[in-house]
């Protein structure tokens, strides 16, 4: 484990992404500690341009965009994490089970898996979201996770299937250990790196999906998130009236989050899959 960490820290890509992420998270979590105002408070008139008082001006309600950015990023991150955890967990469980047990169960699970991959996730997302009456950040995260697990499951299954044939697993089987124990002790550790990378990707996807679904108006209620900020900006024609500060900053923050996560992922990919290293 420590060895892995050392190698990671040496990888330029990983460090770059990691640093970027830490910087943004720093802003997101530390700024509200200094500025304890309520982001819902309407302190200016609508679409005020950036000034010394409000660094990024105000949105259509007259709320401080800079403050909203910090709180909104926290909310979006929360949704992304919930989605990431949920998707990775389900993906792992299904993938492990399908890959290890094999046979009919594998066929059925793979079929279900393929269905969810092929049916556009946005579509399922929309169908489920419009049916719900009370959408909190948690619920939105769960729904996104629910539509994102197939990728993880697929890859996990493939890895598990090949791992299953390894000697140490056979030995464990002969020794009479239970399926559960074998999966947890002999297979999961080999997948750890992959699972973690998948988690990172899923979180990035979660953040992006939250933005998409909020812009369609199906985002979390009564929450300021980067997606809902974009939604309000779009509804009030921020771009059309030239109020770029209400629209572009949230989009950029989403981009930075996702970009840093992708680069971290790419860096980790190089470490764990040596053939890609230059």
């Amino acid at each position: 484990m420590r060895n892995t960490m050392r190698i990671l820290l040496k990888s330029p890509k990983f460090m770059f992404g990691f640093t970027l992420l830490v910087l943004v998270m720093g802003f997101v979590f530390i700024y509200p500690l200094f500025n304890r105002a309520d982001p819902f408070e309407m302190v200016a008139s609508g679409f005020d341009p950036p000034s010394s008082e409000h660094i990024l001006g105000s949105d259509n309600f007259g709320r401080d965009v800079f403050l909203e950015l910090a709180h909104g990023a926290q909310a979006s991150l929360y949704v992304g994490l919930v989605a990431g955890v949920f998707a990775t967990l389900i993906g792992l469980i299904i993938g492990l089970f399908a890959g290890y047990v094999g046979g009919m169960i594998d066929n059925v699970l793979t079929a279900i898996n393929n269905m969810f991959i092929v049916i556009p996730p946005l579509v399922i997302l929309i169908l489920i979201s419009i049916g719900l009456n009370n959408r909190s950040s948690l619920i939105v995260g769960l729904i996104i996770g629910f539509t994102a697990w197939p990728w993880t499951a697929r890859a996990v299954r493939a890895q598990t299937a090949s791992l299953r044939l390894r000697d140490h697993v056979n030995i464990a089987k002969i020794s009479g250990y239970s399926t559960m124990r074998i999966i947890l002790n002999d297979i999961l550790p080999y997948l750890a790196s992959y699972a973690f990378m998948a988690f990172i990707l899923q979180t990035a996807t979660g953040i992006l999906e939250e933005a998409s679904i909020s812009m369609l108006g199906l985002g979390p209620y009564n929450t300021i998130s980067l997606g809902t900020m974009l939604n309000w900006a779009m509804m009030f024609e921020a771009m059309g009236t030239g109020a770029w500060w209400a629209f572009i900053p949230p989009a950029i923050i989403i981009g930075i989050f996702t970009f840093s996560l992708y680069i971290i992922n790419s860096g980790m990919d190089e470490v764990f899959n040596p053939k890609i290293r230059s």
Binding site: I124, L127, S212, M215, L230, I254, F259, I263
Partner: protein, 336 residues
């Protein structure tokens, strides 16, 4: 049995099962939405009516027409039966227009926009990725981060910014829509020109984002291939670079083809967003308004169409993959 035919039948079988599940989802999910769907349409139809009996009569008529008075499983079979007859139901929001009519008007626009865009993006992205993989150094250092950056930006926002920058500010492209506001669809060069003009921006946006996504994947695949033994051997043998690249390309392509099949779903989702942003009269826009009006038959129809199209594309690609990859043939032969 011919190994190809076996492979073909197997894929067909799974596709059909997936289709069935998709139909079931399309049927169930909207119906789980709170509230009686007939309420919404009755509300709009009885605006201004004062007599309770009249309203009740309208209500009952619609209940019967939409079959809401029957148990769920019966409704499902009627629904499936109707689909086979090409009847996707009647829209609530645009009552009494039939869903199939609405979709028939929208599908050509979506097809014309999405599939060329996705495929073009895929081809260009793969080329870019392969080149980046081969020529490492500078090209690679730029291409990879740039493609990553593009695909990390939320697509909706990207499309809106493109729209405002190129349309509203620079006036290079029209502001949206399928064709110019003062034209009526006829088979004339002016109309076609207008269509193409309006086509450009959404097309470009989808292509750029698709390139971004593809380039990354292709690059990894290509690098993987480049380090393979046979490449080293070929280089040692002195085979020209260009030929080597062709081998790399072909081999790296295969998983990308599979990738395309799997990505179809996601890409179509993204392209739908493009339609909404650019006010393009395709399925995406229809679905968007259907969502706003909670028009269940239309929502179901749209999602079914989309899933169906993706499934077909998926199936075609898998068959093509089977023809391309000799290993599949080997696997089938072994099975025999």
């Amino acid at each position: 049995m011919n190994p190809y035919v076996r492979y073909f039948l197997k894929r067909l079988g799974w596709s059909l099962i997936t289709l069935t599940v998709a139909v079931m989802l399309n049927f169930l999910l909207p119906r789980m939405i709170k509230g009686n769907p007939v309420d919404t349409i009755v509300s709009s139809m009885t605006q201004g009516m004062t007599n309770q009996n009249d309203i009740k009569r309208v209500y009952e008529t619609f209940e019967k027409e939409f079959g809401i008075d029957k148990p769920l499983w019966q409704q499902f079979f009627i629904y499936v039966g109707n689909i086979f007859r090409g009847d996707l139901g009647t829209s609530f929001g645009q009552y009494p227009k039939k869903v199939s009519t609405i979709l028939a008007n929208a599908i050509p626009w979506t097809l014309a926009l999405q599939f060329p865009a996705i495929i073009t993006g895929w081809i260009l992205g793969n080329i870019l990725g392969a080149v980046a993989a081969y020529r490492r150094k500078l090209f690679d250092k730029i291409v990879l981060p740039v493609s990553m950056a593009i695909s990390s930006f939320p697509f909706f926002a990207f499309a809106l910014i493109v729209l405002f920058f190129f349309s509203a500010t620079l006036h290079w492209f029209p502001i949206g829509g399928g064709y110019s506001f003062d034209l009526i669809p006829t088979l004339s060069w002016q109309f076609i020109g207008s269509v193409l003009g309006h086509y450009a921006l959404p097309f470009l946006t989808i292509v750029i984002v698709a390139i971004g996504g593809q380039a990354i994947g292709m690059r990894s695949m290509a690098i993987y291939e480049l380090n393979a033994d046979y490449i080293l051997y070929a280089k040692l043998l002195g085979i020209r670079d260009r030929k080597v690249v062709r081998y790399v390309f072909r081999n790296a392509m295969l998983p990308q083809v599979t990738g395309l099949a799997l990505q179809m779903g996601t890409m179509v989702g993204g392209a739908l967003i493009a339609e909404i942003v650019f006010n393009y009269p395709g399925i995406g826009s229809s679905m968007f308004s259907a969502i706003r009006q909670l028009d269940y038959p239309l929502i179901s129809g749209c999602t079914l169409m989309i899933t169906f199209a993706v499934l077909i594309a998926n199936f075609v690609i898998e068959v093509v993959y089977g023809l391309l990859d000799p290993r599949i043939k080997m696997a089938q032969l072994e099975d025999n």
